[in-house]
């Protein structure tokens, strides 16, 4: 396993603030550093600002009328805030967006090929095979329009598409969402494999803390726009708070979802 403290920092986010629509302050000073060749997890509840952080890094905020008002984002020692997303992809940073965002009218295969848009080498076909190897289901549906594929299939397309760009760093937003458990495991195995074999760096935002912390090397926990905790994944997994609130473990192992209501119910249903 990689030791985060010893490797170079590839991506550094310094104390950024993000505002949407000129009025809604979402990130209130977030700092992260992503080591080269590592898998870094960004955890946190709904609306904590994970997606926003990733979009700030990949410069996709503009199109949502958001902007980084403070702080800096540095990739390989270079300030990348003012770069266009396309240039950033050329630099090797690609984002898999939350909510899939496939090109609905394009076929599955064309979707994957758009991932290779910035590439000029001739090995695209090989990588296409690699993606089909990882996701055989996509091979079956290669000629279908992506808009008509199932939720999970679209998620595969989105991840496959990112892999097609042969990135150096992938920003993965909720890769497990909507995937069958087996596939979640598979995807993280793929992440791990790609990370180890090809040395791709990952920054992933995940709700599924359990899996995320099993595969990540280092984790940050975000709450309402601030980093509230960070540390090596191993330590986080052992942290009692994390255990209780993010992993759903009590002292007696996993608790049943059916039991939660007896002690957590705050209000009665008034009919």
């Amino acid at each position: 396993m990689l030791d985060a403290t010893k490797t170079d920092t590839l991506l550094e986010v310094n104390n950024i603030e993000v505002i949407y629509n000129h009025v809604i302050l979402v990130l209130k000073g977030v700092s992260l550093s992503v080591p080269k060749g590592g898998i870094t997890a960004l955890l946190g509840g709904n609306g904590a600002g994970k997606t926003t952080t990733l979009k700030a890094i990949s410069n996709l905020l503009h199109s949502e009328r958001g902007e980084v008002t403070k702080g800096s984002i540095v990739y390989r020692g270079e300030r990348v805030q003012d770069m266009s997303p396309a240039d950033l992809v050329k630099k090797g940073v690609i984002q898999v967006m939350e909510g899939r965002h496939c090109f609905g009218h394009l076929t599955v295969e064309d979707n994957l090929l758009t991932g290779a848009y910035t590439r000029t080498d001739r090995e695209v076909a090989k990588d296409l095979e690699m993606v089909y190897h990882y996701f055989p289901r996509l091979k079956e549906r290669r000629k279908s329009q992506a808009g008509y594929t199932s939720g999970g299939e679209q998620q595969m397309v989105a991840i496959g598409r990112a892999l097609m760009s042969r990135p150096e760093t992938i920003l993965l937003d909720e890769p497990s969402m909507g995937l069958a458990p087996q596939l979640v495991e598979q995807i993280f195995e793929i992440v791990k494999a790609v990370n180890e074999k090809e040395g791709v760096t990952f920054l992933l935002a995940e709700q599924n803390t359990n899996v995320a912390l099993r595969y990540a090397h280092y984790g940050y926990i975000l709450e309402s726009g601030r980093v509230v905790m960070d540390g090596p994944a191993k330590d986080l997994r052992e942290n009692p708070d994390v255990k209780e609130f993010y992993l759903g473990m009590s002292d007696k192992g996993r608790k049943s979802f059916r039991d939660v209501r007896s002690y957590r119910r705050r209000k009665r249903w008034l009919a």
């Binding site: 990949s58 996709l60 503009h62 199109s63 949502e64 266009s84 997303p85 396309a86 240039d87 950033l88 992809v89 050329k90 690609i94 984002q95 898999v96 967006m97 965002h101 496939c102 090109f103 609905g104 009218h105 394009l106 064309d110 979707n111 090929l113 758009t114 991932g115 848009y117 910035t118 329009q145 808009g147 008509y148 598409r161 990112a162 760009s165």
Partner: protein, 328 residues
């Protein structure tokens, strides 16, 4: 009556030719729609602007002469030289590229990821702007456009058909040229958008701006590219229409003739533009020719739309348009 049949064939053929001219305008719409999901209302004005620029270059007009004269009290009009048509066309095409760069830089770039209707409105704003700009640059008077295209009845067809049927068909030479040019454009653009990497990128951008950005497609490049092509198509349309009726404001209204073509062929299909054009052109000419006199004439404006509308009721995405994805 065999005579009626011959008339019908003649009207139909002329309709097909007119349809090709509509298709030339529609093609510009399709390109931009395909590449960005933008319904570019300014396409008609773009054609006008292109034609004005072409004539301006040909006649060595000084751009903004009127404005300059008004401000500085000078009396400038022309440089006093005439350019050969081909040089002027190349220069005008160059201006269209510059224009696309400007449009991308100052308009489109800021409207990434907005609702289609907002983009549509922005293009109407653009249309106003270009209309004013064209007038200020080159003046609002009517201009004759002549790049040496043949015009008038095609004698060969006339004689051949006269010998064959005892009635010579009227086909305009200009229309024949337009058809050839349109066919070439359609074929090359279809190849470009179906089989090239950029073509795929265009379609991706139309589907989802943000996702396209996220995979590293440079919207800027794509947009400048298609707007330039659309500008070139507009120039071609402007030349064809301008040769017929002179270059002046009304040229921009040909956009309205292209819309039903677009509907019928499908907003996203390049071959659709041509097929739609042919159907609309022939349909409206035959209708005006036979039914028009019975109901008072001047039916062409609405007939094309009603035809397209009826058609859409059965096929909401047009003939070759991409199906609207309906899923939850």
């Amino acid at each position: 009556m065999p005579d009626q049949l011959l008339y019908a064939i003649e009207a139909g053929l002329n309709g097909l030719m007119a349809g090709v001219l509509y298709a030339l305008v529609a093609l510009g719409f399709v390109l931009i729609f395909k590449a960005s999901g933008i319904f570019n209302y300014a396409q008609g004005v773009l054609a006008l602007f292109a034609a004005l620029t072409l004539v301006g270059f040909q006649n060595g007009q000084i751009p903004f002469a009127h404005l300059i004269n008004a401000i500085f009290g000078t009396d400038l009009h022309t440089f006093g030289w005439q350019l050969p048509a081909i040089v002027a066309i190349v220069l005008a095409a160059g201006v269209m590229v510059i224009l696309s760069i400007i449009i991308e830089r100052y308009v489109l770039k800021h409207l990434v990821n907005q609702a289609p209707i907002i983009l549509f409105m922005a293009t109407i704003g653009l249309a106003y702007f270009l209309e004013g700009l064209g007038d200020i640059m080159w003046g609002a008077d009517i201009k004759k456009l002549d790049v040496g295209l043949p015009q008038g009845i095609n004698e060969t067809i006339d004689t051949v058909t006269y010998n064959a049927f005892g009635y010579g068909f009227f086909i305009d030479n200009l229309d024949i040229v337009a058809s050839v040019v349109a066919a070439l454009l359609v074929i090359s653009l279809t190849i470009f958008s179906q089989y090239s990497k950029q073509g795929r990128a265009l379609r991706a951008v139309a589907d989802d701006h943000q996702a396209a950005l996220s995979v590293g497609i440079s919207l800027r490049f794509i947009w400048v590219l298609v707007w330039s092509i659309a500008g070139f198509v507009a120039l071609v349309a402007g030349i064809m229409w301008g040769s017929k009726s002179g270059v002046q404001f009304s040229l921009s209204l040909i956009a309205l003739k292209a819309l039903p073509v677009l509907m019928l062929g499908g907003f996203t299909s390049i071959p659709g533009a041509i097929v739609g054009g042919l159907i609309i052109g022939m349909g409206e000419k035959l209708f005006e020719f036979f039914v028009g006199p019975m109901i008072g004439g001047a039916t062409e404006n609405w007939f094309a739309y009603v035809l397209a509308l009826l058609f859409l009721v059965f096929r909401p995405q047009g003939l070759f348009g991409e199906k609207i994805i309906e899923r939850v």
